[in-house]
Symmetry: C3
């Protein structure tokens, strides 16, 4: 059953998104379709007032530059002081030494509630030997093993996306098998999931694995339904339909489609 | 009758948009669909050459940061020297002291032609006692009273958006009642309206209330028609249809749908 | 025949895009629909690692500011050292002295593989006497003459867009006549073409004119097919359909529609 989605649709929780330049519009539209209230504030000067009333903060490093490194660190420290949960998306962390170093510094200084990434990205966070191409995932990696390791070492909830998705939280592990291959053909599909996970946190820095399962599954089932829609015939028509499916997803459909198993 | 829209479609007036990071693409596409020529120049070094040939300048503070504060003030002062009309959108001004202070400084130093915002935002500009959540409007506020007060105090045209929209200009007041609830489910709907108002100014720093009525109503009637379209079933499909309706709106439809009354 | 598009769909070449703030999302989605892997990295700190594995680098100055001038120059010099081909899009170069000076400096210091722009923009690069309004092209200019002159003077491939498109490379000249008027009603249509040209380079700093013809024609034929689709009735519905047509374009359709002639 979708417990939290109904609450999102009623409460319209404020989610602060410090995300990359490519996906701000799509993330905002995705969160609005879900029922959340996104705010893309990036000024440390207003972080205290914004994070105080926010239900969660999303940090996504997709277009990290020297200029915003400092601002991000200022904002997350204020969020930590206010116990506002943080979702961290280490986009393409394996693609450059620059990103790796920033993520190491970030994770050393900040308490994060959920880390979301593909298997390569999460592996890079716990193992500096890995490399990757751009933001793509390598399907040969064992997501279950990586999620368990990362959750133990980093002491956070971990969501690993891929063909199957794996969630590790509080020593529980779940594999989810919904989604659509068209998600890989639109930019920001993974970034939006970060915002959706944030929308399910409701100020809780230790969410249950069930809340995380619902967040990931609502999104992936919406994608699955969008792909099946009769007028969807490519990434272009898939995009608006994904927003519409997020907007109208019903409990009975969610229950019918949900594919999860303990691992 | 739509007097100015025909002129926009023929002249393609250049509108300079210094707007927030989330909505640049949507604003540009909305203005192109309307018939205007948007240019998202943000370099003070070229402001003189750009504002000289522009019909209006839009300033939107949705993602204000320390880095762009100074640039904005440089650009608007050049626009003032050239008597290029300025539309100001104080997005979420009530959400942080930082935004409030910037807007006070901005309005003290700059001559603005139109201020557009929801009732909370406009009230915050004239009354520092108010607060608000994010960019949402509070429908319990009396838009007519706030518009009148703001127009008198700030000595500009004021457009207040909400379930109904209120325009105050040159001691005239009009209430407009078109629009769609789906506008609140897409990001940048209000921001695009700022650009559309700018497109109706044609270098005039004292536009008639009729021009402002047409700007707001063209947009809201397009939204109303988009919502009614048979293939629109959520925010995702509403978005492209809104652009198409702006592109094809005809005078006879405009006249049929227009809901306005003096207040 | 489409030789390179099949290779793009199989190899998913990584394309680094340093492009303007308005079109990042659309450029990324367009390249994903084509089959390429876009990465919008803008940090000079990671330019060496990114350009090393990239097939090409796109530089687009649509929202040039003082802050990113230096970063662009650092990144392109690294790309030059690694012989990563560069596509340069001098957006609205004629609209301000600031842009003209930057482009002069850029072209003096950097080896560019392809320059893409409308006739006014390319003419401005080789002739400082010209002016233009915003990013619009002036159809009265003789694109063939300008392309030839620019290719000779600047010693690069030149792609001039307009009602017809002209390509000059290695003393060969081709005129292409596909496309759709709706391309001028969406923002970033020309910017996306820059990314598409980059996707056809496969690390080659001296591409054949046939590769450039295929890049431009794939895009313009996709646009032509999108405009003809039954549910397209304006710029809003054209946008997603353009992505879908890029995603599904087949060789037989390409051959049927292609309009090219030597000039």
């Amino acid at each position: 059953m979708m417990n939290k989605l109904e609450q999102i649709r009623i409460d319209n929780p404020l989610i602060i998104c410090y995300t990359n330049d490519v996906v701000k519009n799509f993330t905002a539209n995705g969160l609005l379709s879900l029922g959340a209230s996104p705010a893309m504030s990036e000024a440390p000067e207003e972080a205290e007032e914004f994070t105080k009333v926010a239900n969660a903060l999303l940090i996504n490093i997709g277009t990290l530059t020297h200029e915003n490194e400092e601002d991000i660190l200022k904002i997350v420290k204020i969020a930590n002081q206010q116990r506002t949960p943080i979702v961290f998306d280490p986009v393409a962390v394996g693609a450059s030494t620059y990103r790796k170093k920033f993520c190491q510094k970030f994770l050393a200084e900040v308490d994060v509630t959920v880390i979301k990434g593909n298997a390569s990205e999460i592996l890079t966070l716990v193992d500096s030997q890995t490399t990757m191409k751009g933001t793509d995932s390598d399907n040969s990696l064992d997501s279950v093993e990586i999620a368990k390791k990362a959750s133990d070492i980093l002491n956070t909830a971990v969501v690993i996306t891929g063909k199957d998705d794996v969630i590790a939280q509080n020593h529980q592990m779940i594999k989810l098998s919904n989604g659509s291959p068209l998600l890989a053909k639109i930019t920001g599909a993974g970034c939006l999931l970060g915002g959706i996970v944030a929308s399910f946190l409701f100020k809780n820095t230790n969410p249950s694995i069930d809340d995380l399962i619902e967040a990931v599954s609502v999104y992936n089932i919406a994608a699955e339904l969008a792909e099946k829609a009769s007028y969807v015939h490519g990434p272009g028509s898939f995009l608006p339909e994904l927003l519409d499916q997020l907007y109208q997803l019903e409990d009975v459909t969610y229950e019918k489609y949900l594919k999860k198993e303990e691992v």
